[in-house]
């Protein structure tokens, strides 16, 4: 068993591993400047524009070869003509940093995985544009990639068998072949989201030989691989597959998932531990697993590491002391330590959790860890590193030394002026809240500038100061236009421990609302704001806060509420994360009691729509199953029909945020354009 593991964080799946359900996806066409430091001669540098940001390359899924000599990774960039996210696999030599592309003209590459002995590289890719992904295997001694699977509904995850002779994979069942063609019969729903167009079918675990022969469905019944949490893994003897299984394929039931041992012969599933978990990483020797353990039982709140025995499920080591919301875990080659990734303050960092339960934050200098690290058997660690000036590059750490940058995928950025970003903190209701403050390009102390809040979603998520977050491009462009930008990590953010996160329950809107207003006051106290020009915007949970804030203060001059939760009742009954999500954050309240419904309304921005006087731009995807657009319609009508200044723009896309570069850019332009219109 080598150290290759799937990285759940790179999945564009529903609620990424951090279960930041109501947030923008992290790491999209993100990018990376080669030079880590902006030139001091800022005057000679160009201001960043959305057009310039089209050059961004995104770096994902760093996978070091078992022998530690090479790192494979996925490079993405926006193909604005075809309007798709173009992907290719690149290979960088650890010794000399030379890079070459391994793939040509393939669509939708993800999940690259070295074979156990490093002679082949497997990955998921679409056989044709817009087709679901299949497993491909590329021989690393030359030759075309072989398509291993032909599963019509697509492969969502896979793992090499330890002997390299086959795979376990996860694939959604196919509905019965329609007759006539294209006919889908009527079907029953329960906790499906309101846009559902076909019957919910499980994602089953399969096995297949490396040459594609003998595909075998291993799991039966309604149980479904919770592939938004965890990857499939084999025990070293190849007799057991570890997979996180939900009771069915409904995302609404994600808090009921458990990581199971699955017998490769019988398909029998046995839960490893005694409660719900959200996936884990198996040790190399296969005796223990680092489970991601929801501290309060809900997949939506904080997760701690709990190292458990694979056989009996007993806890061996608790990582609770780290007290951060675990994003990922990776074992050291000797299984004696576990690397744990999480947000901390305004950064994405990692800890080293020792066998005795003690933990230490790993010092990587200015470099942050955007995704799970990949560790070779010789201990060399590779990862996608990010920083305030680097949207993402491959870094390696050898022998515990300082991180060494191997790639320079966004060298073009060095020609542009990048805004200064720093962390600030303030007090709110006895909580210490932090945030990222971005200064306008050409900032001069003593002068005042318009301020824009850019509020993250989740709510269990964090605004970090690196360039990797998808909306960092927006922040940089706003700074180029002369705005101060504050990105508050209000209560509920997962960067300061469980107590801070938990403080959002049950006042899911009003509590953070106060934090965010005090964030504005904190920047005001710095004497740098033009108080007549303050705007606010956010998507998803950030849209919720935006709608809330304009209903609770009148100093805002412009606001952009994207995919906002404006009505918790509709959020409960229409969304793919459904009633459990809402009740979790509203402290167990349901809309099915009088007081519960009243509380839902109290925390809903729509209730305060009559107070809104700020020009509001509402944005949404038509096909948003996470935050149903119905709520945006209500807010729009409540404002429009009363003569308020409001515009409502929608994109004909499926999902919570468009995945195509043209629509993404178009949203960012509308967003920045609204501030230009009202704050200039």
């Amino acid at each position: 068993m080598n150290g290759v593991r799937a990285s759940a964080a790179t999945r564009a799946a529903a609620c990424a591993s951090a279960v930041a359900c109501l947030s923008l996806p992290v790491a999209a066409p993100a990018a990376a400047p080669v030079t880590a430091t902006p030139s001091p001669a800022a005057a000679t540098l160009k201001p960043l524009t959305f057009e310039a940001l089209r050059n961004l390359a995104g770096i994902e899924d760093a996978q070091i070869a078992p022998d530690g000599t090479r790192v494979a990774y996925v490079r993405t960039h926006g193909d604005y003509k075809a309007d798709e996210r173009a992907t290719e696999i690149e290979l960088v030599d650890v010794a000399n940093g030379s890079v070459r592309a391994l793939t040509h003209d393939r669509h939708g590459i993800s999940e690259i995985r070295w074979s156990p002995n490093g002679d082949r590289l497997a990955f998921l890719a679409s056989p044709e544009r817009d087709k679901p992904p299949e497993i491909f295997v590329l021989p690393m001694d030359g030759g075309d990639a072989l398509q291993v699977t032909s599963v019509k509904a697509g492969v969502s995850d896979f793992a090499w068998r330890p002997d390299g002779g086959g795979f376990a994979f996860a694939a959604r069942d196919l509905p019965k072949p329609p007759k006539p063609k294209g006919y889908v019969p009527a079907f029953y729903v329960t906790d499906e989201h309101y846009l559902t167009r076909e019957e919910t079918v499980p994602v089953a675990v399969w096995t297949v030989q490396a040459d594609g022969s003998k595909p075998k469905r291993l799991t039966t019944g309604k149980a479904s691989v919770a592939d938004y949490f965890s990857e499939l893994q084999y025990t070293p003897d190849g007799k057991t597959i570890v997979a996180t299984m939900g009771p069915d394929a409904l995302l609404a039931h994600l808090s009921k998932a458990q990581t199971d041992r699955i017998d490769v012969v019988s398909g029998a599933m046995v839960p490893i531990a005694n409660g719900p978990d959200t996936g884990g990483t198996l040790s190399h020797d296969g005796t223990k697993i680092a489970l991601s353990w929801p501290r309060h039982g809900s997949a939506f709140l904080q997760h701690d590491v709990s190292v458990r025995s694979l056989a009996g499920g007993a806890e061996i080591v608790s990582g609770k002391g780290i007290d951060r919301n675990v994003a990922w875990t990776r074992w050291a080659p000797d299984d004696k330590a576990l690397y744990v990734g999480a947000h901390d303050g305004v950064r994405s960092v990692m800890w080293r959790l020792a066998a005795d339960g003690s933990s230490q934050r790993v010092d990587l200098g200015d470099v942050d860890v955007a995704e799970p690290v990949s560790i070779a058997s010789n201990g060399t660690m590779a990862f996608v590193g990010v920083s305030r000036t680097d949207p993402g590059d491959i870094y390696v750490v050898r022998g515990g030394g300082a991180p060494q940058q191997l790639t320079h995928e966004n060298a073009w950025l060095s020609g542009y002026a990048l805004a200064k970003r720093e962390a600030i903190t303030w007090q709110s209701d006895g909580l210490t809240v932090d945030g990222v403050l971005t200064y306008p390009i050409g900032f001069k102390p003593g002068r005042t500038y318009p301020l824009v809040l850019n509020i993250h979603g989740g709510p269990v998520s964090t605004s970090t100061w690196d360039f990797n977050r998808y909306d960092s491009g927006l922040v940089q462009v706003l700074a180029a236009h002369g705005y101060l930008v504050l990105e508050p990590n209000y209560r509920g953010s997962d960067n300061a421990g469980d107590a801070f996160l938990q403080a959002i329950v049950p006042h899911v809107a009003s509590g953070p609302g106060r934090d965010n207003l005090r964030g504005v006051q904190a920047v005001e106290a710095m004497g740098i704001i033009d108080r007549s020009r303050i705007g606010v915007g956010g998507w998803s949970g950030g849209g919720l806060q935006t709608s809330w804030l304009v209903g609770h203060a009148h100093f805002w001059r412009a606001a952009v509420s994207g995919a906002g939760v404006d009505n918790w009742f509709e959020q409960a009954v229409l969304s793919d994360i459904n009633e459990e999500f809402t009740s979790t954050f509203l402290g167990g309240a349901t809309p099915w009691t009088k007081t519960g419904k009243q509380f839902f309304d109290e925390e809903s921005p729509l209730t305060y729509a009559s107070h809104i006087a700020t020009p509001l731009l509402i944005l949404s995807d038509i096909g948003d199953q996470r935050v149903p657009i119905t709520q945006s319609f209500e807010l729009y009508r409540a404002l429009h029909d009363n003569g308020k200044t409001v515009e409502f723009m929608a994109w004909p896309r499926e999902g919570h945020f468009p995945s195509d570069p043209v629509a993404r850019e178009s949203i960012m332009k509308a967003w920045a354009g609204w501030f230009e219109r009202w704050l200039k």
């Binding site: 003509k81 309007d83 006539p180 294209g182 006919y183 889908v184 019969p185 009527a186 079907f187 029953y188 729903v189 329960t190 309101y194 846009l195 559902t196 167009r197 076909e198 009742f569 509709e570 409960a572 009954v573 229409l574 009633e579 349901t590 809309p591 099915w592 038509i622 149903p628 657009i629 119905t630 319609f633 209500e634 729009y636 009508r637 409540a638 429009h640 029909d641 009363n642 515009e647 409502f648 723009m649 929608a650 994109w651 004909p652 195509d660 043209v662 629509a663 178009s666 949203i667 509308a670």
Partner: protein, 656 residues
Amino acid sequence: MRTLLRHAVPMIAAVALLGAARAPAPLALSDLRTIVRYSDPQLSPDGRYVAAVETRNDYTANHPKPELVVIDVATHAKRALTVDRAMVSAPRWSPSGDRLAFVSLDEKKKAQVYVLPMNGGEARPATAAENGITIYAWSPHGKRIAYVTLDTAPNKKAIEAHDDGFVITEQPFTARSAVIPAHIWIVGDDPKKAKRLTHGTWGVAPTSKLVWRPDGRAIAFTWNPDGSFNFYGRTRAAYAVVPSGAVRFFAGPGTMDPVYDRAGARVAYLGPNRIAQLQNDVIVAAADGAHPVDVGARLDRSADPPAFDASGAVVISAGDGTRGRGYVLRGGSFKPLPFGDVDANYVEFSTARNGSLAFAGVTEHDPSEVYVLAPHASRLTALTNSNAAFARHPMGTRRTIAWTSPDGIPLDAVVTEPVGFDRAKRYPMVLYIHGGPTGASSVGFDFLGVPELMAARGWLVLEPNYRGSNSLGARGIATSIKHPASIAGRDILESVALVEKRYHVDTTRIGVSGWSAGGWMTSWMITHDTRWRAAFDGAAVDSLENVATIGDIDSYANILIGGDPWNDAAAMRTTIEQSPQTYWANVKTRTLIVSDAGDQRVPTPTSYEFYHSLRAAGAPVQLLIYPVNGHFPADPLHMEDVARRWVDWFAQNFRS
């Protein structure tokens, strides 16, 4: 278009495989596959022929197969005019009768006008509209055709480059593009040389037709303030001047469907009744709209779009209690036409120079035939006999019961007696409640066949025309405004009590069902009474707020509510009071909620909300989704599946 929240009257048709001589058995679902439906029958100008669309369903390919047929009025000989043309519709004779135009799809699947010479020869395209056409009309001399086509989006290039974000104004939650208006164009001999007549951000209403003034200098149409479907009460009967394109209004908001008489001296159009805005009166005015006279008020029935007959008299159809009747305006008042047992439901009459009139009608035992009323005839002539086989099945008798509400409103209902009805026996009963609410149940063969199938199972079927129905007069509709559900709910319960008095109803087995506003009433019944054994709750208006906010016709909902709930607190209170959703906790009835996945009229979210609520109430509830767009499935298989499940749901729940 008063059928907004009614079953979306579908273009049904069926493959006629029915053998002529078969032992009569009670009607079964499979029998409905043989239905042949007629639509849009058009008399030739001389009255000698009728062209019509004849539609059967292809259940293998799962789509309707319309064909154009022409029928000789004298001999009833019928022949097909088209072979395998895609989605033919809207036949229109040229003014001299030498050509027949119709709509079909071109190779890009865009609807275009084709013209068929009636002295032989193949049809040629008359239009080449980039975005396809919606409606059209021959010019008075047959030299030109006016048609309506959607404007091209101003940001078409950006859209093609995938930059297709759009502004939402009046659209429903299912919108995929900006509101784009449709405008009038005129084309002569060369389809490629069409000229645009009208411009503006306003649009030709989605329900409009085009009517040339006989002098060719104006085209009447229904104007809407924008290109949305949100037209109710916003439209205006209008005309565009040819060739300037200037637009003039015949009348104010809420008017629609203008038509000129043969001399071009007068115009008739529909307008809101003074007491009840949702009742359509016929208004006749001078050709420029001057001196309007509300000739429909005395009829006190909601008129369908008017036409003028050869004598210059206005003819209309209108629901009258449980019948759909034809009327002619003579001596200042509307007189019923001698239609006998044939119902004219939501038809526009075609009239000829010789004084005859044609339409597609329905009888109790025949879902569709083409009928002609010859000049001065005392009865209708059926030109087709395509569904005669249905009369050979033993069918339940459909009777009308009538009563007066305590506050003096005349109400009625259709009761279908079970096949082999025996007055001494006790029967289960199903309520089958019409939509709208401004629709009506009539004794004619149901478009889904559900009451007929239920009668074949041995159940009584009750179809109440509750307050709000458009066949009962303005006072009924007027008294339902601001309490459309609660007052209708009382009427419906009165109808149940009346049937229980007249029949032996098995009161332990009463089911309640409906689609759209019929679903609304169903939800109202189960939230206000627990007597029901089971409920089939299709596309129900459980939340009026949803319909008025994310649906495609807020304007209709706002009339029912009495205001815009978003700026009128009283209207918001009404919205809440009249929504079954408000009373979810009362439900005990076993309920099957049904919705299309993409219903823009009664928004799908409404059904999800009600489902979650009933589940929380502990009621035995299921939610069934049809993975299609629209307010009712339009494809034959799903449509048949609705009827099957509707009947089966009660069969299953009536088993003791």
